[in-house]
């Protein structure tokens, strides 16, 4: 019977092209607006590392005190002193301090200009912590961290560019005039939002191309390419800055279970208490541990305009659906005599429901097809409203195509419930008498 109802539905669409076009347009525009904004919302709010997001924790230690804090919240970054103390304590199975550095790749060919690449200084644990996939080789180990070794991990894109895709492990890369031995080539890896440095990137940036050891970067006095916030004058020189209360380091700990998270929080509290006793902190311990999703929420990574535009678009879809309810009601009730005849010939109310809901679904499907086209246009135009870093994430992939069609069909079927209910209530006796 499904095929029969589908056939009737398609005939019905053709029967009144103007009414059909109005409904299809209402659904198409409503769905397209919703799906376009949803694609942005989805891209910005998705979990960048779902398999480990509950095990990775961003660490905050309040080294500024209540006078300089934002509503009692510890600063979002650590200073060098605290970061190194936590690294030295090594209380988590894995941990890393990290910060972005401004590094350029110097090509062998002297005639070519150095190219700046997105680079982070980290500890070797970061690769396993963040599930970085490798095409060749691997990250470096603790020995390289301790030795401030000149090693690097590069991206697949950079490997393709510099080594034409060959396995470059063991080869040298020149960064700012110094050679680094490549220990690994990452496979395609572009977590969005860029959770481990959402503070400096607002969550969205181009993929990371190079990692070098944190210890090496500090030894070479590489300043942060991200935010450096100081609550008082750090004094002159590199060492003075390193030992100041200026905050510029992101700190992550991998804590596989709740017990370890609790223990680590206690350790942080103890560390802050120790700093208080030592006279460095003149306030009660104030520390935070936030897993990836909590950290994204804390930093408000999802742009407010993405949320607002999604709500507006959903409101628009609702208005379109209310219009569709009216149009379907007019369409169905005009066929009351036909319903009466069908009921007389053996159609039950359930049958009428099935016929008209399937007919509504065909309208929804046509609306979905239009919506898909408009969503494609909408996704292309996201850059007019959002930052390019966000706009590039909004794509019309298979899942969005399927979702667009599904939303169109389901919402139309939902909108058709009342008109269909009214159609099923048609009294055949009255209709046949009035004929």
């Amino acid at each position: 019977m499904f095929a029969y109802y589908l056939q009737l539905g398609l005939r019905s669409l053709q029967r009144n092209p103007v009414l059909t076009a109005l409904m299809v347009m209402a659904i198409g525009f409503g769905v397209a607006a919703s799906m376009t904004t949803y694609s942005v919302f989805l891209a910005t709010s998705s979990n960048p590392i779902p398999q480990k997001s509950s095990q990775l924790y961003a660490v905050q230690v309040d080294n500024w005190g209540p006078e300089d804090s934002d509503k009692g919240e510890p600063p979002d970054s650590l200073n060098y002193t605290d970061a190194m103390a936590l690294m030295a304590a090594h209380r988590a199975p894995r941990q890393t301090a990290l910060y972005p550095v401004g590094v350029s790749v110097v090509p062998d060919d002297q005639s070519q200009l150095p190219s700046p690449e997105s680079t982070y200084a980290t500890y070797g644990d970061a690769f396993a912590m963040f599930d970085v996939p490798f095409l060749h080789g691997s990250g470096w180990g603790a020995a390289e961290d301790d030795a401030h070794a000149a090693v690097a991990v590069i991206s697949r894109v950079l490997n393709d560019k510099l080594f034409r895709g060959a396995n470059s492990v063991g080869r040298q890369i020149n960064l700012d005039g110094r050679n680094y031995r490549i220990t690994g080539v990452m496979d395609s890896w572009d977590p969005q939002p860029l959770f481990f440095d959402a503070v400096n990137t607002s969550g969205f940036s181009d993929p990371v191309q190079i990692f070098i050891p944190f210890t090496r970067a500090v030894e070479l006095k590489m300043a942060t390419a991200g935010n450096n916030n100081c609550n008082r004058d750090p004094g002159l020189g590199w060492d003075a800055w390193l030992h100041s209360e200026c905050i510029w380091i992101q700190y992550w700990a991998e804590l596989p279970d709740r017990a370890q998270a609790v223990a680590y929080r206690q350790y942080l509290h103890g560390y802050a208490a120790e700093q208080q006793r030592a006279g460095r902190f003149r306030w009660a311990p104030n520390v935070r541990l936030s897993n990836v999703e909590q950290w994204m929420d804390h930093l408000k990574v999802v742009p407010p305009e993405a949320k607002i535009s999604l709500l507006v678009a959903l409101g628009f879809l609702l208005i379109c659906l209310v219009n569709t309810v009216g149009l379907l009601l007019a369409k169905f009730m005009r066929r009351a005599p036909e319903i009466g005849v069908r009921r007389a010939l053996g159609a039950s109310r359930k049958t009428v429901y099935a016929q008209f809901l399937i007919e509504a679904a065909t309208v929804g499907l046509a609306g979905g097809a239009l919506g898909l086209l408009l969503t494609g246009v909408g996704v292309l135009c996201v850059g007019l409203v959002f930052d390019p870093q966000i706009a590039r994430l909004a794509t019309l992939d298979l899942s969005l195509i399927a979702l667009t069609l599904l939303v169109a069909v389901l919402s139309t079927v939902l909108a058709a419930f009342y008109p269909t209910w009214r159609a099923a209530q048609v009294q055949p006796a009255w209709q046949l008498k009035s004929n």
Binding site: M1, E338, R342, R343, A344, L345, G346, A347
Partner: protein, 239 residues
């Protein structure tokens, strides 16, 4: 085949109750051809719609082909309508957007019949009413008589035990009406039970039995005082 006992149908509003049928009794045997007559508003069509399970009733009993139908749900009533009853209406009630073939196919679709059997039955019934060549025509392309023949073909295609006809010739000219009536008589001769509501005395006279309804009740014309008055006046005038 069709037995109603003390059946009533009441239309209620906040201020008034209107009896369309009151203490209504009728027993139509299998294979009978019964004409139901009566003045406008007497309850003929209400009786027919209740008989066809298109409407519920307020009290009494109704047995259709041995089944007490008062407690049946919508699905069961629809199934009985589909399998046991054929309808022929004064206004033909064909679906204008479907061609002749598709119109006749509707009840067979609801029965879940396979395509080959559906086609066979549709063509047989069209042959029977003499419209096999019009299978692809739409109702608007047919005359009134042809449309009524299509409606009869639609009723016949499902091989119903009971055929309910509501003024089947009411919208037709004399010649067309005669041919439709002959068709009904043929169908009756082949064993179908037919209950036909009509105003037309000539048509009623062709049935095996006449049932007269006045004010929602079956009456015996020979005992109805109103009939006597009319009859007497009529007799007096002609005397």
């Amino acid at each position: 085949m069709l037995k109603m006992t003390h059946l009533s149908k009441v239309y209620r509003t906040e201020v008034v109750e209107t009896y369309a049928l009151r203490d209504f009794n009728i027993d139509v045997k299998e294979g009978e051809f019964v004409a139901v007559t009566g003045p406008s508003g007497s309850g003929k069509t209400t009786f027919l719609t209740i008989a066809g399970l298109l409407e519920t009733f307020s009290g009494g009993e109704y047995h259709l082909d041995g089944i007490e139908v008062s407690n049946l749900n919508d699905n069961a009533r629809s199934k009985i309508r589909n399998e046991k009853i054929g309808f022929i209406f004064q206004a033909f009630n064909l679906i204008p957007d479907l061609n002749v073939f598709d119109n006749i196919e509707v009840p067979l679709r609801y029965r879940g019949m396979k395509a080959a059997e559906r086609k066979q039955r549709i063509m047989d019934s069209l042959e029977r009413v003499g419209l096999a060549s019009r299978a692809k025509h739409y109702p608007a392309e047919l005359s009134g008589g042809q449309q009524q023949r299509v409606a009869i073909a639609r009723a016949l295609a499902g091989s119903p035990r009971l055929l309910l006809a509501d003024e089947p010739t009411g919208n037709l000219d004399t010649q067309m009406a005669r041919s439709v009536l002959e068709l009904l008589e043929d169908i009756h001769r082949e064993g179908a039970t037919i209950v036909m509501v009509t105003h037309d005395p000539e048509l009623a006279a062709r049935a095996q039995r006449n049932v007269h309804i006045i004010d929602g009740q079956v009456v015996d014309l020979s005992e109805d005082p109103r009939f006597h008055t009319v009859h007497a006046e009529h007799t007096g005038t002609t005397a």
